[in-house]
């Protein structure tokens, strides 16, 4: 369980809904190269009908295309897990950076940063 960091900023006016953002750190532009790993699942599945569209060789009796897709389904969550382990946002339980909020004056509506 990643530690929650101290409050990242000043409190805004009270929201209509209790804000669960309190105490969550922001990333402030830290690079997150591990997110590129999230492309692996789509590459694995997307390649299936192009490079694996055949019955032979069979893997433990399972036709090759099906075996490929099963393998992709097992590998994908492992890759997403790896992407998370290497992701500073996951390790800090940080809020996701939202470019649309990175403008002065965004707080005008009572949101908090």
């Amino acid at each position: 369980m990643p530690p929650t960091a101290e409050d990242s900023g000043e409190q805004g006016p009270p929201d209509p809904v209790a804000s669960p953002l309190d105490g969550l750190p922001a990333l402030d532009g830290v690079a997150r190269p591990s997110l590129w790993l999230l492309l692996v699942p789509v590459l694995l599945y997307g390649a299936a009908p192009f490079v694996a569209n055949r019955v032979e060789p069979r893997i433990l009796g399972v036709p090759f295309l099906l075996a490929w897709v099963i393998a992709a389904t097992v590998i994908s969550p492992l890759v997403i897990w790896l992407a998370a382990r290497l992701d500073p946002a996951y390790r800090a339980n940080a809020v996701e950076p939202i470019p649309a909020d990175d403008l002065p004056g965004t707080d005008a509506e009572g949101g908090r940063r």
Partner: protein, 506 residues
């Protein structure tokens, strides 16, 4: 009604009572405000998010359509597992992003998000209407799916239409009282039953009819090899391009489905969502089971009139009635849980953005929603949401009783239609220069292209999913407008108040 039917009907009835009980019980001691009803006060941890979102992905289509496609087409059904898994990779970023934006600004739906982002209530209303058009048919699909499941599990003694009404009543009762939290709790029951039922079927069905899974594979290879590669057996052009384009389109689109977003927004922290993105794909392994069962049916019942009944035909044929009933309950709950969340999301979309006067971000709108959960204003918005939740359900129910085919045809377009909302809801959060005018022009273009392709039977177009072509047109128009005639400059105020930025235009 013979003995088996009586047993199955009784178990089904008890399960429905238990469902309502769990659903109602989950609301005890909770706030009565809109945020509790629509997004569980943003308080669900990893476990409940997992249960809820697993509940949403394993729908009645998983029992009916998955086995049915496997039976009729073969390989193309693999798209289902593929896009759901890829969708979780996308959700690793999108889930926390929508959560962060919505939590920061107190938003509860995609229409609410669009309204706030563009400081424009009309944009919010447009998003709400488009989303509604494409998800009401989905509710009907679930209601009819429930009818088919219940009819099959009770050996025909509960009529399709009676089952449809029962599913509507059960889902409405707990969703109206308990909101999203009710769905999450019912999902707990549902997921348990699904896991047990599906793992059992995976072993039992091939063993009972053939010499096990190995024998099934051998027979597929020797007798039905056409099913084992793309484009499958008479699948209507579902080739490699179709697979790739559909997987990409659906994987992105499912992350902004109003139901998925309801799940995201109910999370307690961004990491609850990130952790789910790496846990939920494992659940998709269960989807291979109905595929195997559908393939088994190819050898046992090669001439099924309705392929969607592939799974339940084998189940009722080979198992004693109490087991049939339990599997049927798993199937029925797989319709009820998503149905309830769909109805809730429509209620949420309309209750605040269309009927409730918006969220106050639009400086031109007269009313501003604020105040505390549970105050008069909040309660009024919640009641409006509940009202719409009932009306949307009634429309879908009426559709399933009187026009069973019309709306279901539309549901085929659900993903393609909702995909056109991806720029206005999602790209908008990542690209500051996107303006309301550009987003709306793009969306309308995308919807027009999609409808045209569908109406002229050009979808898929040379194998490419029509939704991808429409989304490409959507983005081209959007880019053109941003760079040539952006309209209201970045919808966010540069300095000072929101009024200043919006007054510059129109």
């Amino acid at each position: 009604m013979n003995g088996s039917a009586a047993v199955a009907t009784t178990i089904f009835g008890l399960a429905m009572v238990a469902t309502i009980g769990i659903g109602l019980w989950s609301a005890r001691g909770r706030s009565k405000g809109l945020a509790e009803w629509s997004v569980s006060s943003r308080g669900l941890g990893v476990l409940f998010i997992w249960l809820l979102m697993a509940g949403e992905t394993y729908t009645s289509f998983s029992f009916l359509g998955t086995a049915g496609w496997s039976y009729s087409f073969g390989a193309p059904i693999l798209y289902l597992v593929a896009y759901l898994t890829v969708g979780f990779a996308v959700a690793y970023v999108v889930g926390p992003a929508l959560w962060t934006y919505a939590s920061r600004h107190g938003l509860i739906s995609i229409a609410d998000i669009a309204e706030f982002r563009f400081r424009s209530r009309p944009v919010g209303i447009l998003v709400a209407v488009v989303a509604t058009v494409f998800i009401v048919p989905y509710i009907q699909v679930q209601i009819q799916g429930m009818g088919v499941v219940v009819n099959a599990m009770t050996y025909g003694s509960v009529d399709l239409k009676v089952a449809a009404v029962i599913s509507f009543v059960v889902a409405e009762v707990f969703i109206l009282v308990s909101g999203l939290r009710g769905s999450a709790w019912v999902s707990a029951l549902k997921d348990m039953l699904v896991i047990v039922a599906v793992v059992f079927l995976a072993v039992y069905i091939p063993m009972h009819y053939l010499g096990g899974v190995g024998d099934l594979m051998q027979r597929m290879v020797t007798e039905r090899p056409e099913w084992l590669t793309f484009p499958g057996h008479e699948s209507g052009g579902r080739n490699a391009m179709w697979f790739l384009s559909t997987v990409v389109l659906n994987a992105v689109t499912i992350t902004i489905f109003p139901t998925t977003v309801a799940g995201y927004l109910s999370a307690k922290s961004p990491n609850a969502l990130r952790r789910n993105a790496l846990l939920l794909p494992w659940y998709q392994l269960l989807l291979f089971v109905p595929m195997v069962v559908g393939a088994t049916a190819l050898f046992v019942m090669p001439t099924l009139g309705n392929p969607d009944l592939a799974l339940f035909s084998l189940v009722t044929d080979s198992l004693p009635s109490p087991v049939v009933a339990l599997i049927g309950v798993a199937g029925a709950l797989s319709a009820i849980v998503p149905m309830s969340v769909f109805m809730l999301s429509i209620g949420t979309l309309w209750g605040r953005t269309i009927l409730g006067g918006g969220n106050g971000a639009d400086p031109r709108a007269s009313r501003r929603t604020s105040g505390k959960p549970g105050d008069a204003d909040d309660m009024r918005t919640k009641r409006l949401s509940q009202l719409v939740c009932v009306v949307a359900g009634l429309i879908a129910l009426a559709g399933s009783l009187f026009y069973p085919n019309t709306l279901v045809e539309l549901s085929v377009l659900s993903y393609e239609g909702l995909a056109q909302l991806v720029p206005v809801v999602l790209l908008a959060l990542f690209w500051r220069r996107l303006t309301a005018r550009a987003a709306v022009c793009g969306m309308l273009t995308g919807l027009a292209v999609m409808t045209a392709l569908w109406a002229t039977e050009n979808d898929p177009y040379h194998g490419v999913n029509g939704g991808v072509i429409a989304l490409a047109a959507n983005l081209v128009v959007l880019l053109a407008v941003v760079f040539l005639a952006p309209g209201a400059g970045p919808a966010l105020p540069r300095e000072g108040s929101a009024q200043a930025a919006v007054r510059e235009t129109r």
